[in-house]
Symmetry: C2
Subunit: 381 residues, 2 copies
Amino acid sequence: METIYLDNSATSFPKPPEVYDAIASMMKHGVNADRGGYTLARETGKVVDKTRESLARLVGVNEPSNVVFTPSATIALNTVLFGLSFSYGDNIYLSPFEHNSVLRPLYRLRDFWNVNLRMMPVERSELVYNLDELNKEFKRNRPKLVVVNHGSNVCGLVAPLTEIAALARDYGAWVLVDAAQTLGTIPIDMLKQNVDFLVFAGHKDLLGPIGVGGLVINNSTNIEPFIFGGTGVESKLENMPPEYPHRLEAGSLNVSAIAGLLAGIDFVKHNIDIRERKQRLFASLLDLLGRYPEVKAFASPNHQTRLPIVSCTVAGYTPQEFATVLDRHFNIAVRAGLHCAPKAHEFLGTAPLGAVRFSIGAFNTERDIATVGEALEQLFR
Amino acid sequence: METIYLDNSATSFPKPPEVYDAIASMMKHGVNADRGGYTLARETGKVVDKTRESLARLVGVNEPSNVVFTPSATIALNTVLFGLSFSYGDNIYLSPFEHNSVLRPLYRLRDFWNVNLRMMPVERSELVYNLDELNKEFKRNRPKLVVVNHGSNVCGLVAPLTEIAALARDYGAWVLVDAAQTLGTIPIDMLKQNVDFLVFAGHKDLLGPIGVGGLVINNSTNIEPFIFGGTGVESKLENMPPEYPHRLEAGSLNVSAIAGLLAGIDFVKHNIDIRERKQRLFASLLDLLGRYPEVKAFASPNHQTRLPIVSCTVAGYTPQEFATVLDRHFNIAVRAGLHCAPKAHEFLGTAPLGAVRFSIGAFNTERDIATVGEALEQLFR
């Protein structure tokens, strides 16, 4: 029996065949990327350059060299958060939906620089950002940095990025977008939307493999290097080279993962119906979950822009128990717990045990959702 | 015409077929690793556990949880160097052979903590560490940390680890071994050899893919986390979880790379003649290079323990020019320049242009070396 995979927020699965092929081909033909070196290394370097260009176009920046590859979105977030300079008392705004890859570096900044971490106001009942209140907050406590969780990995809420960034701009604040859950699904234009820094994960909605993420820079503030090592260029320098991307790329690039990411982005660009299909399946899923009073579902009510992610609590089961039942008896793979976003669960009232999360990917089918329906029917009829 | 690949110090290439298969299989069946989750995630987690166990056995430590996976050796080195605490005036010893993944973090520590960076004495003419002199140095300037470049990526010199670590132990210093170039070729036993911290690269002599490296810990000093993010466990904590490996593993593990690494380690363990074959080919290569007065070769004279790596300067060519000639006319892939080890080239007298490096891997053949011979004959006869 095939597993019904509904854990696409953790990592999208499966990947398009083109992605597997690109990775396998790069593994067998590619070596360490290099600009000036031998033919194999140069060919490898070209794939890296093409991927930078593809990402730059995707997020609306002009300079591919402002696309920095990191091994993960986590490392990209650490790179930008620890690479910016703060002063005692600076205000950093965040949302209740931040992942631990944002929260934990921010706690560190709080302890180190004595910055204030301030929650952006979100209406709990309607799951909507209160922009008037936010503006007042910004007026009271001028923002230095606004971290925007572009899409929640717990409830699928998509932040009103354009509006938040416009407000932040009025106060001269940096805008950092955590697009780990959204890039590939929700369009973004860093220039038009006034985004200074954007972090992406290669292995989620861009359909690439685990092993590559990155940071896109649209701001002239120099980010201090966070990881130090070989760059293949300017090796004599004691510091990292001053220019992007080398400044922030220490060590061998994961060229196979980058080749897979390029294929994933191409697939996403050529299959523009993915988002609509996911939204349709998601509506069916929410409809099914809504039939059972035992199930309490937490999802964004915004049909237009939400991500197809819902977290549920289920009467009579801990989240872990319910996930285990779905796994063992129905071969349905979902993720239970806090989803590395403890504040989101506090906000939703589902802490400390968390919830069971269903997240839909590009390759889920109506049959998958129907199987969830059958499982619910068997468990609760 | 097949490329003659002699850049195995950058990354070993090709990998054993088993490695490609393990990666492809994990890509198609594996998802995010997880202990308590659904079947697919648990199966993935088991491969991660097995790889930890395999590595622990390989380096002689008892606790697999002391094997920390990082996306690269560079990040593992940054993790340990920035995770230890130093005081003003502490002495950190290093060798002239350090890679920029050691040097650049050390320069940072020097600037931040005011530690003293002290070169271990190496006799230039014989390429041998002067242990008597080192002992005197340690007496004069007590070491806090000794970084041992286990094998040079420029000249193949293997450090006398046992002796250096024994001396360091007498002074209560930490011993950090950069085994990026050696693990898989030179045996190591962290317990017996008194090694506190060992860093490995998955994609070099262990024959795994780019995308995984790590740190092995054999010391009770707590390494402060360097990268902060999701851990899948103890998500409520503001800090990283206190226990290894979670403490130092933020974000999704690269499970495909880890599966490939496991297959690579298995291959190395089952093909115990690799080292001898490489040494034999290396002796032939050195013999060929020695025939031409135009070529000046820098390699360790220690037949027993050296790595099959040689850097050359060639009369009438810059290193880059010579590498380009080998690439264009003979399809021989070698690496020119400073090899991210600028101090090594200063030491050898080959700075600032560096040299042309030949490095032999598990799959090179006598035919490959003969082709180098033919190239030299054509160029210099």
